[in-house]
């Protein structure tokens, strides 16, 4: 628009709505971008398109009924969500679960972590324009989903980890098939590194883009791979061990700034690759040590905790997933509050994107790996 009164041409910022229908917002997220040419001056995320009243709904359900609904929060890491709920509830009830249950839970959670990271890495490649790694990742994720399917019959929303136990014991083929998967999967990590991680164009696009300083990360409460990529060794599996994680030997990979600055998008990407390798280590150890036992012996007949509250947290693929549960002594919770890692992570988007270009918003959004199902709940 030209201001007719003065001879100078007036320029103004362009506001671009990215989403909710956009191929790279990873769900129904709307980003309001203020643009100066192609440079971002402000990013305003608008959330809530996927809101399903999970927390309020919990107050109307008995404790075991909540489990299937936790699946639907972070739908790429349902096993992790269930595990978090089970950990919190068992802490509230004071239940000891059999060792076999704990081992199976760890195996499932780590398989889920690999599956979730595969989606994150694959879609990240697709965001940057490399479509082929995306399908390689989904091919491998499909094998994990098959393992889940033979275990509990569902591919994405399992309702598998119950308070005090599991819905099914392992399928007789599970151990063999999981070992086969690990054997097949190790070379494909290398393949993914060759085709994407160390690609010159990919490094140019991601290194030094969207640098998250440690201080900002801590101030915003970022957790999970995003925090570790900034160089902080913080992992609940090690620092506040739950289930049987303390029995396994594994490393916590952190960002090193190999191709740029510590905490850039490439670091966030690569930490996830390294984490998949660590998860494989955990699964191998858990399969070796897997004890026998009944997986349903500790499931309480009727869950009616004493009045009180509990906070249980687990390390989900996207960071610290916490359940704050208040019980008033009845069979339904008084309040369930979820600390969703993606919700926290999304808050840093505005900080990270300032001064970068439109293409970098996609890079940064992909690298912080959010799931809208968890943000909106």
């Amino acid at each position: 628009m030209i201001n007719t009164k003065s001879s100078a041409i007036r320029t103004e910022e362009m506001v671009l709505n990215m989403g909710p229908q956009h191929p790279s917002t990873h769900g129904v997220l709307r980003l309001e971008l203020a643009l100066e040419g192609e440079i971002i001056t402000k990013v305003t995320p608008h959330i809530g398109y996927l809101h399903r009243c999970f927390e309020k709904h919990c107050e109307a359900m008995t404790y075991p009924q909540i489990v299937p609904y936790t699946d639907r929060m972070d739908y790429l890491a349902s096993m992790g969500n269930e595990l978090g709920y089970a950990v919190a509830m068992e802490k509230l009830l004071g239940i000891e679960v059999p060792q076999r249950v704990e081992y199976i839970r760890v195996i499932m959670a780590e398989l889920q972590r690999i599956a979730s990271h595969l989606v994150a890495l694959g879609t990240y490649g697709a965001d940057i324009g490399a479509f082929t790694p995306f399908l390689y990742c989904f091919r491998d994720r499909e094998k994990i989903l098959h393992l889940f399917e033979i275990t509990c019959g569902a591919r994405l929303l399992y309702n598998y980890i119950w308070v005090g136990g599991l819905s099914h014991d392992l399928h007789p083929d599970f151990v063999r098939k999981t070992r086969d998967f690990i054997k097949e999967f190790k070379p494909t990590i290398k393949e993914l590194n060759d085709i994407l991680s160390y690609n010159k164009i990919f490094i140019d696009r991601t290194a030094n883009v969207g640098i998250l300083p440690v201080k900002t990360a801590i101030n915003f409460g970022v957790s999970g791979p995003n925090l570790r990529a900034s160089g902080i060794k913080w992992d609940i599996r090690k620092d506040d061990p739950y289930s049987v994680y303390s029995k396994f030997d594994f490393d916590i990979p952190v960002g090193k700034g190999t191709h740029g600055t510590v905490g850039d998008s490439w670091d966030r990407y690569f930490v996830r690759i390294l984490e998949m390798e660590e998860s494989l280590k955990i699964i191998e150890q858990a399969l070796d040590q897997l004890p026998d036992g009944d997986v349903q012996s500790a499931i309480p007949k009727r869950i009616k905790p004493n009045a009180g509250h509990v906070y249980g947290r687990v390390e989900n693929p996207r960071g610290e997933l916490g359940y704050f549960i208040i019980s008033d002594g009845s069979t339904t919770p008084y309040r369930v509050k979820v600390r969703a890692p993606s919700f926290v992570t999304l808050q840093i988007l505005g900080e990270l994107c300032k001064g970068y270009m439109i293409a970098d918003v996609i890079t940064i959004l992909g690298s912080i790996d959010i799931v809208l199902g968890e943000i909106d709940r």
Binding site: A126, M357, A359
Partner: protein
């Protein structure tokens, strides 16, 4: 030339005149571009599928070979949606212009020694000029759509095509210096004989110049291949239609047959630039190893063989484009500009000077 061919074949000037006239005007469109586009779209899907552990289209016809035809029929039947608040004349004209620009380039491309649409002396110059129309069409499409994504896509596209035309032209200029002709037909004729006469191997004849030229020609080939890749908006330079950023770039708002025209133009363009690279550096329609027609003493077989050789060379480069597309990520806008202005143009310029000195010797 087509006329001469038919006179040889029929021995009657009237029939030859009519037949050559019809063929001359229709051959590129109906005998080459359309079948090629149908084939290339399917090939793209099949190539990508097999690179990605998939099968690709399998349902329609044997291994899905009818898929593109079904898609085109679907696109023809679709409602022609024109959003409100678009600049309608420009919106409707843009796909035509883009298609016309890329189709017109085929007029000066020599498919064989007997078939060349129009043997203009400034063939290569004409092609570079006429493909410039595509830029205008893309800008029109982006502006007329009244969509911010389209506008961003078209602006990126124009900046990209204009930037990458410079290295292309510098390389073409060096070829023109060596061969002293601008006609693609003459250029192809000069590279006759065996493959060591191709310009990628220094050109015809055995002299010191030829061997001095080989490294420069290799550099020239690499530069022109990269920059033509950018000119037809292919990965890693597909920024104008960057699917994950700009939805579909300048053709976001187009549907039905208008979209199909953009699509067709893209594939026609892919072949056009491959054909130019083949004509400049890889002997054009010349066979690398000699002709079956010469061996058997059947004169009329030679042009057909030449046509097949030319198609094969072009399709090979199209295949390489697809290969790159399904392997590489995409550059960012500023990085894309840096590749052209910081690397390709200076190298191409130095290369031009070096080739100039060598030709002086």
């Amino acid at each position: 030339m087509m006329y001469d061919f038919f006179v040889d074949l029929f021995g009657n000037t009237v029939i030859a005149g009519i037949a050559s006239g019809i063929l001359m005007s229709l051959l590129p469109l109906f005998l080459f571009i359309l079948p090629y586009a149908l084939f290339a779209v399917l090939a793209e899907r099949k190539v990508s599928a097999h690179m990605q552990d998939r099968l690709g289209p399998m349902r329609i016809g044997w291994h899905g070979w009818n898929q593109t035809i079904a898609d085109i029929i679907k696109l023809i039947q679709k409602e022609d949606i024109v959003a409100s608040d678009t600049d309608k004349p420009l919106f409707n004209f843009a796909p035509v212009l883009v298609f016309a620009g890329s189709y017109a380039a085929f007029a000066a491309i020599p498919f064989s020694s007997y078939y060349i649409g129009s043997e203009v002396d400034l063939g290569i110059f004409y092609i570079i000029a006429v493909t410039g129309l595509v830029v205008a069409g893309i800008l029109m499409a982006g502006w007329a759509s009244n969509n911010k994504y389209s506008l961003l896509g078209s602006m990126r596209s124009v900046a990209q095509i204009v930037s990458y035309e410079i290295p292309t032209m510098l390389v073409v200029l060096s070829l023109v210096m060596v061969s002293e002709t601008m006609s693609l037909h003459t250029l192809s004729e000069m590279q006759t004989g065996y493959f060591w006469n191709w310009y990628i191997f220094g050109g015809p004849g055995f002299s010191l110049t030829k061997f001095l030229l080989i490294p420069s020609m290799l550099i020239g080939f690499i530069i022109i291949y990269i920059s033509t890749l950018a000119e037809v908006n292919r990965v890693p330079f597909d920024i104008p239609e960057a699917e994950s950023e700009l939805v579909a770039g300048y053709h976001t708002e187009y549907s039905g047959m208008k979209f199909a025209m953009f699509f067709l133009a893209e594939y026609a363009n892919m072949y056009a630039v491959s054909a130019i690279v083949a004509a400049l550096f890889f002997g054009g329609y010349q066979s690398p190893v000699g002709y079956l027609g010469n061996l058997l003493g059947v004169e009329w077989l030679i042009p057909i063989e030449q046509f097949l050789w030319f198609a094969a060379k072009g399709l090979f480069f199209v295949f390489v484009q697809m290969w790159l597309r399904w392997t590489l990520p995409r550059l960012r806008v500023d990085q894309l500009m840096a590749v052209s202005w910081k690397y390709l143009i200076p190298i191409a310029f130095v290369n031009l000077i070096v080739i100039g000195f060598i030709t002086l010797i």
